[in-house]
């Protein structure tokens, strides 16, 4: 029998606010332990939390970008559990009235992964384990998080990858999170179950906690799928449990049993008041949203004729896409700009992080000027490429490498004269060409190109040469 894979994801993203969710302590990664702390975020008795407005705004932004309905009335709840990473023995989260509901992320296949809800909550502190002892750092305690929960709509590890990458991209575009999985600012809990192909009844699920790499997440899903199928085929039942993925063995292992939902004893936090929003406020926030990557992708492919593969590479990184926007504005052929980015700039910046930052010496304006010269027929593509390499190394303008004189271009008459000269000086090659050695033309072409100092258009010159030889 074959089995369908059913996956739902709960993704935590840390927000890029200046301060924590309930106090004015700095929200920053990598500080000395317990230096971004105050009585509120270490949970001392008698302190009162006060919700950061920006967290609410970011949650609304995320909800709008993920096509959610924003709840006009929402509030914070307490989730109770005792663990050293949680100084108050409860986490302030949202359970009964999350701020956003019922959205979706559309995959490239057109399939929609439905978003069940998005809620705001505080992050826990960080535990460092050293030879059995535990060291606690509460800098992360109280850092604002959004938890984005999907419906179990994902049916392959590849769809899971695409969903997470899309989510990452959208969150970065709207500026609410940097979604750095390796630094923990984006983490996924993965719910996996299997069911007989086509069946409507969901199987028993297991939950893999805290995945912090997309590659490992897809491996963990594939592993769990195989494990569930093997368990069922052997006549046993899948046990509902919380798992940890072990990278070294590419397998999962059971975690110490966690509480059931009812054990969290959720209740409305009496320290925090309701959040009441109105449509006008939400519209104001909608107006601050930038153009989303899915839109840009459609524009690049449909309007500019950029191949999907290339468009995806540009849209993936906001800085690259913004660079492209600035450089291509007003040009007849924006595709040329994307070719320079992918063909030449990306050759030197290869890692995700580098592309994310996109720190290069050339400005969008400088690339714009270069492409303009090509469009105006003042330089050919060959020369442009060579010049762009030099520009990338030095950060200098195109005019520093190509003089006004060079850019005057070359008239058709001049080209014809040069071609005739070339053919007469390379009679042997011309004969070879006529006798069927098509490559021989390249030698004559090289002669002309050299004479034009690279200004001529190689295709045009080759045509002219063929014409002359055939006369």
């Amino acid at each position: 029998m074959s089995y369908d894979l059913v996956v739902g994801l709960e993704t935590h993203v840390e927000l890029l606010t200046k301060t924590k969710i309930f106090c004015g302590c700095k929200n920053s990664f990598g500080s000395e332990p317990n230096t971004n702390c105050c009585p509120i975020c270490i949970g001392l008795p008698g302190t009162l939390p006060k919700l950061n407005r920006e967290v609410v705004n970011f949650a609304i932004k995320a909800g709008l970008a993920l096509n959610c309905k924003i709840n006009l009335n929402s509030k914070m709840d307490r989730k109770n559990y005792v663990y050293p990473d949680l100084s108050k023995a409860y986490q302030i989260s949202q359970f009964y009235t999350p701020i956003c509901k019922n959205g979706y992320v559309e995959l490239s296949s057109g399939k929609r992964i439905r978003i069940h809800q998005i809620h705001m909550e505080e992050d826990a502190g960080k535990l460092v384990h050293k030879s059995g002892d535990v060291y606690v750092d509460y800098n992360r305690g109280g850092v604002p998080l959004l938890e984005i929960v999907t419906e179990p709509d994902i049916s392959s590890s590849e769809e899971a990858r695409e969903y997470v990458e899309k989510l990452q991209m959208i969150m970065r575009y709207i500026g609410v999170s940097d979604c750095k999985m390796q630094e923990g600012s984006m983490r996924c809990d993965v719910n996996v179950s299997v069911k007989p192909e086509g069946s409507r009844v969901l199987g028993t699920r297991t939950e893999i906690k805290n995945m912090n790499s997309i590659t490992f997440m897809t491996k963990a899903i594939d592993y769990e799928y195989k494990r569930h199928v093997a368990v069922i085929e052997s006549g046993e039942k899948v046990v509902q449990q919380t798992l940890r993925y072990v990278e070294s063995t590419n397998s999962t292992e059971s975690m110490r049993s966690k509480e059931d939902a009812q054990d969290y004893r959720y209740f409305g936090d009496p320290d925090l008041v309701e959040i009441n929003l109105d449509d006008l406020y939400i519209e104001q926030i909608r107006n601050t949203l930038p153009e989303l990557p899915t839109n840009r992708f459609k524009r690049y492919t449909n309007k500019f004729g950029i191949p999907e593969k290339d468009a995806l590479l540009i849209v993936k990184y906001k800085n690259v896409s913004d660079f492209f926007e600035a450089a291509s504005a007003g040009l007849k052929n924006p595709k040329a700009v994307s070719n320079f980015i992918i063909g030449q700039i990306f050759r030197n910046i290869e890692t995700e992080t580098e592309r994310e930052k996109f720190e290069i010496l050339v400005s969008p304006k400088q690339l714009h000027e270069l492409v303009k010269l090509i469009e105006d027929g003042k330089i050919n593509m060959n020369l442009a490429k060579k010049t762009f390499s030099k520009m990338l190394e030095s950060g200098k303008d195109v005019t520093d490498f190509i003089s006004e004189d060079d850019m005057k271009g070359i008239s058709d008459n001049e080209i014809e004269a040069l071609c005739r000269e070339a053919v007469s000086k390379n009679e042997a090659a011309a004969k070879d060409y006529l006798s069927g050695k098509e490559k021989a033309i390249k030698a004559i072409l090289g002669y002309v190109m050299k004479a034009t100092k690279g200004k001529g258009d190689a295709l045009k010159i080759e045509k002219k040469l063929v014409e002359i030889i055939n006369q």
């Binding site: 301060t19 302590c25 317990n34 230096t35």
Partner: protein
């Protein structure tokens, strides 16, 4: 009436360790507390909803940094901690 197992589960969730003779007492006390909570439940039909007694909403704070406490102040109640951390020694 709360069962013995429910009492032990509750104690476990709160990391309380009850001796055999404490369990019986705790069950009685818990029953009293639940009765009391049930009275409140009668006032508010949805037990999870805290009624908005004070009528306040949107007590929001601007996203502005307020200086944190120095590390030694934060660790003052735990004898200064260890290496800048709250320290929990291995037990068992």
């Amino acid at each position: 009436m709360i069962s013995r197992d429910e009492m032990l589960n509750l104690a476990n969730l709160s990391k309380l360790y009850l001796s055999e003779d404490e369990i019986e007492d705790a069950m009685k006390e818990m029953d009293g507390m639940i009765d009391f909570a049930n009275q409140i439940k009668e006032m508010s039909p949805n037990s999870h909803e805290t009624p908005n007694i004070n009528g306040l909403s949107n007590a929001l704070r601007d996203d502005e940094v307020i200086e944190s406490y120095p590390q030694n102040k934060i660790l003052e109640n735990v004898n200064g901690g260890k290496d800048g951390y709250f320290y929990i020694k291995k037990y068992n």
